[in-house]
């Protein structure tokens, strides 16, 4: 059973069907691991889908957004769709000339701090509520899943955020590398979360992969 927490993953109900071991990350119930005959790290290397919706995120948008963030010591990427790593496992993504999307790692407190610094009355910087569903698709066969669902060519080397559609849903996709295998971060409107999770999970299963819990991606969470 999950604990009664204020924050719930948009795909919690889909995860529940897979009988996960629950834990708490960033005040949200998360699937730390799943019952499986195969060790999750092997699944991760082959093909795995993981829910990372718990990671706090926010956008700051407006003509002064970039300079405001830079003033707080945040190194905003120079060009649109570039990204950089932030704090412990967090991300800074430039989603527009005047918009920056920030996401904390599982233990990061950056978003909370920025929200404290942010003054709503400040002109030219607007905080945008980000409640996306966030997934990680990883493993040697991860691109095969995208080839079945997305018309963008992720075979080409790239390290930029890509705005595209996956299985008919608008997504931001960031190709990265995880433990030596290709990996893709996906963010999408949370109202499509269950749909896309189920669509991707079916394809992942067809390709011999499975769901993995967050502790497989962030080993430091094992005891959470």
């Amino acid at each position: 059973m999950t604990q009664k927490l204020k924050r719930l993953s948009p795909v919690k109900d889909a995860l529940e069907e897979l009988h996960p071991r629950w834990g708490k990350v960033q005040e949200m119930s998360v699937a730390l691991s799943f019952q499986s005959s195969k060790p999750e790290r092997l699944t991760r290397a082959e093909l795995a889908l993981c829910d990372l919706s718990c990671l706090p995120r926010a956008s700051f948008k407006g003509p002064e957004a970039v300079s405001w963030l830079e003033g707080l010591g945040i190194a905003v990427p120079e060009t649109v769709y570039q990204y950089s790593v932030w704090n412990d496992g967090g991300l800074i993504m430039r989603t527009d000339g005047q918009e920056v999307l920030l996401e904390d790692g599982p233990e990061g407190q950056g978003i909370a701090r920025l929200t404290e610094y942010y003054e709503p009355a400040r002109s030219g910087v607007y905080r945008v509520e980000r409640q996306e569903a966030a997934f990680l698709l990883c493993g040697a066969k991860a691109n095969d899943v995208l080839l079945e669902t997305c018309g963008y060519n992720f075979q080409r080397p790239g390290d930029r955020l890509v705005m595209t559609r996956v299985a008919g849903v608008s997504c931001a996709v960031l190709p990265i590398e995880l433990a030596g295998v290709p990996a893709f971060r996906l963010w999408l409107d949370c109202s499509y979360g269950i749909y896309l999770w189920e669509a991707l999970y079916e394809i992942v299963r067809d390709h011999g992969g499975g769901a993995v819990g967050m502790s497989c991606i962030y080993p430091e969470l094992v005891g959470s």
């Binding site: 924050r7 948009p10 607007y126 409640q131 499509y192």
Partner: protein
């Protein structure tokens, strides 16, 4: 396997693996690698199908993946093409389009009735009397059946896939392989697709007697396989070409949507048939089909054959057949001068007699047209017409035709390549290719083997250069040279007809003559009237002859004459391939699971799933909905309104932006207050509505209709750019959960959970406040769509379920009820609130809908203002008005879209109607003539059966016309 030849070099079958299968209860054994057609032919079974209209026996004809009549079905699959489907152990097949089976098709009598079915017969015969058309239609569908779909067959997924490459090469013959190698050697990612199970193209079946040619295939393949960036995909057909080099690849499992940067089409040519009487019967086939049978499948096509030809290929085919022990009774050469090359000498040396300037006049049928036993040859006069004197009959069980070629140009033409007729070759060739699309080899009109390889290399390098590779030198185009491999008119008239031009549709020469006489003398019209080229082979063996016949009859040259338009797909593709994996994106609110667990009956609203109502034990649907209405009116209800569009508009020009987007005034809207929004398009038609909440001087939170959110957000972004205003727009629809807590006890419920001062003075009607609800930061709007005291509570989506739970818990003492969309529709109708899209249509402007109060024409500007100024001055032609039936009325009720009738004419329509449980009567809204809109007027509504009902026009709102319940505290009316 009585017709199996000894092992042939390079054969495609594996003789170590026997495969047993059944065709119409007959056991057949073939080898792995055989197709259904080749396995049957190897076993002496020559009837592979029955023709579409006349049910004539048909056998192997082209064996080029275009045989149209060999179609079977099994318990799992329908429309199994016998020429392309490999046999598998245990497959159990039945031919389609027969009555009683292939051998004893009882519908064979149709062949005798064929004189009564001239071209266009169906159009002329069956349209009158009209009432009999359904009968004719069902009979025609039965007769023209092409198998039946087994709806119980196991579901088989054919997931589609995207793929990408630099250069796509279509066809793996000598030119295709050369092109692919040349492009891959430039370091580009190259995909080479071949529709057959083995690569090599003509090198697989036209190199039979020449070991050097077979070695060439091996050499090219070896080189290709050494190139890491070159991927060869066999059994993959490039079936459709779309913009920007997007090509649909079909393999046995799936459709791949391949995006290439450039494309080389080197698919070779389709051999063209000669037209003569009985040219369709089993035993008559294209020379290339006979060569494929021999070299690829080691199957003897005939025992004794007459070769009809007009090019070197026919001579080569005769020699190939001779070499494997088939007696070549003679060669009939349409050309009076015969073959100019050394092939003529080789034929002579082989003892094969050549009849120059002669044609096959007819194939002599035997065994009930199930085979042939001879060929009747005739001489041709100088115009190429058959002479009636001097005919000779030769015994044979097969006729092999090699009279010409047509390029496999489907993809090229889909890609808008301009094709022109080349008289030197007597065929169409690519004339002007669009950027990034290249042709090579025989498709490009290049026929000599060495030239084809050179041309392939040229095309490969050109494609690589197009992709940006630094190619040092791209060779020039090669010259297209004769002698022509195609005869200009391989058509022999016969008084008794059955000389088929299109085997798919059973079209004879006389059908074309009749259609052209009737005035269908343009190739596109002729196609549509006669249906040539519309069958499974898509005219690959009939389009060119049809064009030749048309031009001959009109006395015109083919030069500068276009062929029919080519469209995807070039060959039949199963619907399963097209469907692929089904993706139907739908949206759910964060409270979705709660709704399900509480018995919600869901309904589709746009792409959202919403609770229609919450099922209650012992109550009907209607009773349940009424109970939900009652709860809101008397206690408190909670509805999930998270599907509403939510857009944040910020920046110094935010107010100005909203002023321009919507019809009312917002610049002076107080911070902390909200106002109704109405959006019109440029023509003044109402397209959306919602509420604008002012959070700060430069920040608004705007709601839109559920179905309009994405479109409105896009439209806003477009206008923001057009107007160059300083605004920041965020479509926050999915980011916020929203719920409407409504009813006289709503304040009481919320008070327990919120730190916001809910006193009406501190938080008045239409007020907006931010604070915490159940510990979560929330935006609260005091609006009243349902006409009760209420709060629209917006919270971050991932806390939505939590807040909902807490509200339900806090409302337990007040008997809180969740309510669905249906109850909300009744509640809003009682209040006379309209729903855009239901109570308006694509032409409704605000004045007709009684929404003129929301239009401020004296503003500086808003979208639709100019049109509305004009409309304002014009007299109304209709008015949206309320109506009601008396309390206690029993009888049929009007429904939505029923027509309002005035003096026998349509005056309007009912847009909304329901029984109001609060008022105890049927109420609704309808468009009526302005003269009918006066309260108290009686209007007539026509019901389903045509019966008329009188309803009374009533002023809206029907309920609480003074708006007291939402703006003041009203004591709870407890109903016992």
């Amino acid at each position: 396997m009585i017709n199996r030849l000894p092992p042939q070099p390079g054969e495609w079958i594996d003789r170590n693996r026997r495969v047993r299968f059944w065709v119409e209860d007959r056991e057949v054994v073939g080898f792995e690698g055989d197709t259904i057609s080749t396995a049957l032919w190897a076993n002496g079974i020559r009837i592979l199908g029955r023709s579409f209209k006349y049910h004539r026996p048909r056998g192997i004809w082209s064996l080029a993946n275009t045989d149209c009549n060999g179609v079977f079905e099994s318990a799992e699959e329908t429309n199994i093409r016998s020429d392309t489907t490999l046999i598998t152990e245990g497959m159990n097949l039945k031919a389609v389009n027969t009555v009683g089976g292939l051998d004893r098709d009882l519908a064979g009598f149709m062949d005798k009735l064929s004189p009564f079915f001239p071209v266009g017969f169906y159009y002329k015969a069956f349209h009158t009397p009209r009432k009999l058309f359904p009968f004719y239609e069902s009979k025609m569908r039965d007769m023209a059946g092409l198998g039946s779909v087994n709806s119980k067959k196991p579901l088989k997924h054919s997931p589609k896939r995207y793929d990408f490459c630099d250069v796509l090469v279509v066809g793996s013959g000598p030119s295709g392989l050369s092109a692919a190698i040349a492009a891959a050697e430039q370091g580009l990612k190259v995909h080479l697709v071949e529709e057959n199970p083995q690569p090599g193209g003509t090198l697989c079946f036209q190199a039979g007697r020449d070991p050097a040619r077979r070695q060439l295939r091996d050499k090219l393949l070896e080189r290709a396989r050494c190139l890491e960036t070159l991927e060869i995909r066999v059994s993959t057909m490039a079936a459709g070409y779309y913009a920007d080099h997007w090509v649909a690849l079909i393999d046995p499992i799936r459709m791949t949507k391949l995006r290439a940067r450039s494309v080389v089409v080197a698919g070779g040519c389709y051999e063209q048939p000669a037209v003569f009487r009985n040219n369709d019967l089993p035993g008559v086939m294209l020379a290339s089909a006979a060569q494929r049978l021999v070299h690829q499948y080691a199957v003897r096509p005939f025992r004794e054959v007459v070769v009809l030809t007009a090019n070197r290929d026919g001579y080569e085919a005769a020699l190939d057949l001779h070499a494997v022990g088939i007696k070549v009774a003679a060669i009939a050469d349409l050309r009076s001068g015969g073959e100019p090359s050394d092939a003529a000498g080789q034929v002579r040396q082989a003892g094969i007699f050549v009849h120059k300037g002669s044609a096959v006049y007819e194939a002599i049928p035997c065994n009930g047209k199930k085979s042939i036993c001879g060929a009747l040859l005739c001489n041709l006069d100088e115009q190429g017409n058959p002479r009636q004197d001097g005919k000779i009959q030769l015994d044979c069980d097969g006729i092999s035709m090699s009279v010409g070629w047509a390029p496999a140009d489907g993809l090229l033409r889909q890609g808008r390549t301009r094709m022109s007729y080349c008289e030197a070759l007597e065929q169409y060739v690519p004339d002007a290719l669009p950027p990034g699309l290249f042709a090579a080899g025989r498709t490009n009109g290049i026929y000599r083997l060495e030239d084809r390889m050179e041309d392939g290399k040229r095309a490969g390098l050109a494609a690589a250069a197009y992709c940006g590779a630094s190619v040092r030198h791209v060779p020039q185009d090669l010259r297209r040279e004769g002698p022509p491999p195609s005869h200009p008119y391989p058509v022999v008239a016969h008084p008794e007809n059955k000389n088929f031009v299109d085997l798919d549709e059973d079209l004879q020469l006389k059908d074309f003559e009749a259609a052209i006489k009737e005035g269908y003398d343009n190739i596109e019209l002729l196609k549509r009237y006669s249906t040539f080229g519309m069958g499974p082979s898509q005219g690959k063996h009939s389009n060119l002859n049809a064009a030749r016949i048309l031009s001959r009859l009109r006395g015109e040259s083919l030069v500068a004459k276009a062929l029919t338009t080519a469209r995807p797909f070039t060959s039949p593709v199963s619907l399963g391939h097209l469907a692929g994996r089904i993706f139907s994106p739908h949206r759910q609110t964060p409270m979705h699971q709660w709704h399900l667990e509480t018995g919600a009956k869901l309904m589709q609203a746009g792409n959202w799933l919403r609770p229609e109502y919450y099922v209650r034990q012992g109550l009907t649907r209607q009773e349940t909905i009424w109970a939900e209405v009652k709860a809101v009116r008397q206690q408190v209800g909670l509805i999930d309104v998270g599907t509403l569009g939510k857009i944040e508009i910020s920046g110094p020009d935010a107010a100005e932006f909203i002023e321009r987007m919507y019809t009312s005034r917002y610049a002076k809207l107080e911070i902390g207050m909200s106002r109704y929004l109405l959006m019109c398009d440029e023509s003044g038609v109402m397209i959306d509505d919602g509420v604008a909440a002012r959070l700060a001087a430069d920040r608004f939170y705007v709601t839109t209709t559920t179905s309009g959110s994405d479109a409105i957000a896009r439209e806003m972004k477009r206008w923001a750019i057009c107007w160059n205003l300083k605004v920041v727009l965020v479509n926050a629809t999915g980011s916020y959960a929203a719920m409407n807590l409504a009813g006289p006890e709503s304040r009481q419920v919320l008070k327990e959970l919120s730190d916001i001062d809910l006193d009406p003075k501190a938080f008045p009607y239409l007020g907006v406040r931010e604070g915490r609800v159940a510990g979560v930061h929330a935006r609260l709007l005091r609006v009243g769509f349902v006409g009760e005291w209420g709060y629209e509570i917006h919270v971050p989506a991932n806390s939505g379920a939590w807040v909902w739970d807490q509200l339900m818990e806090a409302g337990r003492a007040s008997a809180i009820q969740p309510f669905g969309v249906e109850a909300q529709r009744i509640l809003r109708l009682e209040k006379g609130h309209i729903i855009i899209g239901q109570d308006s249509d694509g032409l409704t402007h605000p004045y007709e809908a009684g929404m003129g109060w929301a239009v401020k024409l004296d503003k500086e500007f808003f979208i639709g203002q100019r049109s509305l100024r004009i409309l304002r001055k014009k007299p109304l032609t209709r008015r949206l008005t309320g109506f009601a039936l008396p309390k206690g009325y029993v009888g049929p009720s009007p429904k939505e879209c029923h027509l309002v009738i005035d003096e026998g004419e349509i005056a309007g329509r009912v847009t909304s109607v329901t029984f109001s449980p609060t008022l105890g009567q049927i109420i609704g809204m309808a468009y009526v003539k302005p003269a009918q809109a006066e309260a108290g007027s009686l209007i007539e509504v026509r019901l389903d059966g045509g019966e008329m009902i009188r309803v009374t026009v009533v002023k809206t709102p029907f309920y609480d016309p003074e708006n007291l319940r939402q703006s003041q505290v009203v004591e709870l009316e407890r109903v016992s």
